[in-house]
């Protein structure tokens, strides 16, 4: 039997949430959901885990802080110490208050750009990438649940279709994949 993919379209976010809850309760595995905006509450239903991007961002920030500390020490204390208005240039710690703004800015710089890049790479959203939403209306006002038979061996195609049709479906497309 060829694998089939169901694209179940709903015309409202609440209908999508209700349908997803019903389908998952029946043991059907939902592969993905396409929506024009974040539908709050869908993640736990279809089993999307919490993202770890914030942790990544914190690590980028820490990297930035350390690099900025290393840089200020190297440029201002170690490599070419200068006497500027008699300000202490013998040890990093004495001179540190003057470095706080740059250490802060550089940490923010690394945190923001590191996280943004990770976000784009993890999503696979990069310039020129092809769009993969099943229907152009999913970026306007329609919501699609994607179900593949491969994940749902317990059900036959007609069985799945019947269960899906029991929800408030707007449109249903079944394709080979």
């Amino acid at each position: 039997m060829a694998n089939k993919v169901f694209h179940v379209m709903y015309d409202d976010d609440q209908k999508l949430l209700d349908a997803a809850t019903v389908l998952v309760k029946q043991g059907i595995q939902v592969k993905d959901v396409f929506s024009p905006f974040p539908v709050h509450g869908i993640d736990p239903i279809i089993g999307v885990k919490r993202t770890r991007l914030a942790i990544a961002s914190f690590m980028y920030a820490t990297t930035g802080t350390l690099l900025a500390i290393l840089g200020t020490w190297y440029f201002m204390i170690h490599d070419w110490p200068m006497n500027i208005g008699g300000k202490p240039s013998f040890t990093w710690i004495e001179n540190a208050p003057a470095f706080v703004p740059i250490i802060f800015e550089f940490s923010v710089f690394c945190a923001a750009h590191g996280m943004a890049l990770t976000y784009l790479l993890r999503n696979g959203t990069l310039p020129g990438m092809p769009a993969s939403n099943p229907d152009p209306r999913t970026t306007d006002d329609k919501f699609v649940i994607e179900i593949v038979t491969e994940d749902n061996h317990a059900f036959s195609v007609s069985d799945l279709e019947e269960k899906i049709r029991a929800t408030e479906v707007f449109e249903l497309s079944i394709k080979d994949c």
């Binding site: 024009p36 919490r50 993202t51 914030a54 696979g124």
Partner: protein
């Protein structure tokens, strides 16, 4: 579903559906450019070209082409720099601080406010860069290994802090703005029929498909970026103020400067947002999304920040007397009674008195009054920077060196030119970009939309 308190005013007026929001925002992009837009961009582009010409003349001649002299070494250049950076701050405040405070009204205005931030910071950056004189050596401000040994820039200097602050601020704002734009570009891509625009918006949308996991990440990134953009925006204008505050010039070295500059920046930024949005909502028929409630909220921010600025002016004045330092006192007596007193009183009227008019509900809910006052505030905030910079240095310790500043044609051309470049960029944005965060707006439709909010009453 979340229910909003009935007492809160609806943010999206009329009976809108998700599809209506898409139509209202994307519609103007699909249609032909309206005549007013063509006229406006032609005027702006001519002014921008005049600015480019002035800049080229400046680079060719050297910064002697400005009206600066031995006594007044900083004037319009740095005034314009601080003015533009300040204007930029409202965008980040709206998109980041209001996001952290979960203010839903930000969603209608954040996109254009952020665009304004980016263009304003670009304009700001032109001034210090061209003030360097040999602009092709601007990269010397970065700590790059070089043939001098290596000789590094001075990390103790607030001017160096500024390089880091402004470049971080600009690039982070740009990324924050663009990440928000990606899903909206995808909406435009999926609607476009003509192949070329479809292709262009396809590239701009990075292949966004709106998967559940991607939206989770999107919200996390928005929240964390807002969290780090908030201290960033406060740090940037604090650092800008330290360009003055860490010096030992009477009138400049005041510890009150950082908070005073930050509130002034938000004050002027909101004024500029209002100026731009009042025109945009009318010409692009966005009255349902940017309504009186939004304008009133922004005017309230203007009262608050304007009052903080007013208190700061008076505190400065009091402390200059209370400090007992005669040079400090003189700097301020000279400010309000010297040759530049007209600028001082202009600043006081525009920034301290005029925003207080917004205490009257009639005035803060009137579009005409808001528009006029927003321009008054912009003028006032320009004069604030001019007063701080020029009046503090035009009379120093040696009366023989006292002088005054007279702007040259190049000074004026450069400043007016940046206005032209700014408006050209903003008009291009308004024409080709989604001017409202349309997909974010859809998330508040059922909570704050008029027809949904009052649905139970019918």
């Amino acid at each position: 579903m979340i229910k909003e308190a009935a007492i809160r005013r609806p943010l999206i007026l009329g009976h809108k559906t998700y599809h209506d929001i898409t139509n209202d925002v994307v519609g103007p992009i699909e249609g032909n450019a309206p005549r007013q837009w063509k006229i406006a961009i032609s005027i702006a582009a001519v002014i921008a070209l005049y600015g480019v010409g002035s800049i080229m003349y400046l680079v060719g001649t050297g910064i002697g082409a400005w009206g600066l002299n031995k006594t007044v070494g900083w004037s319009w250049d740095i005034t314009n720099f601080v003015w533009w950076v300040g204007i930029g701050h409202a965008g980040t405040l709206i998109s980041a601080v209001l996001l952290l405070f979960r203010q839903r009204w930000r969603m209608a205005i954040n996109r254009s406010a952020e665009a304004m931030t980016i263009f304003a910071v670009l304009m700001a950056a032109l001034f210090p860069v061209f003030h360097m004189g040999r602009v092709w050596q601007a990269y010397w401000t970065l700590p790059l290994p070089n043939q001098f040994g290596s000789l590094w820039p001075n990390f103790n200097s607030p001017l160096m802090w500024d390089v880091f602050a402004i470049s971080t601020y600009f690039s982070v704002s740009l990324v924050f703005w663009y990440i928000g734009l990606i899903p909206d570009f995808a909406t435009i891509r999926d609607r476009m029929v003509k192949p070329l625009p479809k292709k262009i918006y396809g590239i701009l949308s990075f292949g966004w498909s709106g998967r559940a996991k991607h939206w989770t990440r999107f919200e996390e990134v928005s929240l964390v970026l807002a969290g780090i953009a908030t201290p960033l925006v406060f740090s940037v204008h604090s650092i800008v103020s330290m360009d003055f505050a860490t010096s030992i010039v009477p009138g400049w070295h005041a510890t009150i400067f950082p908070p005073y500059f930050v509130s002034g920046a938000v004050f002027s930024g909101f004024a500029m947002v209002l100026t731009l949005l009042l025109i945009m909502r009318k010409t692009m028929r966005l009255e349902a999304y940017i309504n009186i409630a939004h304008i009133e909220y922004m005017n309230i921010v203007i009262i608050v920040t304007g009052s903080i600025v007013g208190v700061a002016y008076l505190t400065e004045l009091f402390i200059s007397w209370y400090s007992g330092v005669e040079y400090e006192s003189y700097a301020f007596i000279n400010r309000f009674s010297g040759p530049y007193s007209w600028a001082y009183w202009m600043m006081m009227t525009c920034n301290v008195i005029s925003p207080q008019l917004f205490w009257f509900k009639k005035i803060r809910t009137s579009l005409t009054a808001t528009f006029l006052l927003s321009i008054v505030v912009n003028i006032g905030m320009w004069f604030e920077r001019f007063v701080i910079i020029v009046t503090s240095i035009h009379r120093d310790y040696t009366p023989g060196a006292w002088g005054e500043f007279h702007p040259s044609v190049t000074d004026i051309g450069f400043f007016v030119g940046t206005l032209g470049i700014f408006f050209t960029l903003f008009l291009l944005f308004a024409r080709y970009f989604p001017v409202l965060a349309l997909n974010e707006l859809k998330t508040i439709l059922k909570v704050s939309g008029e027809s949904y909010k009052n649905a139970d009453k019918h």
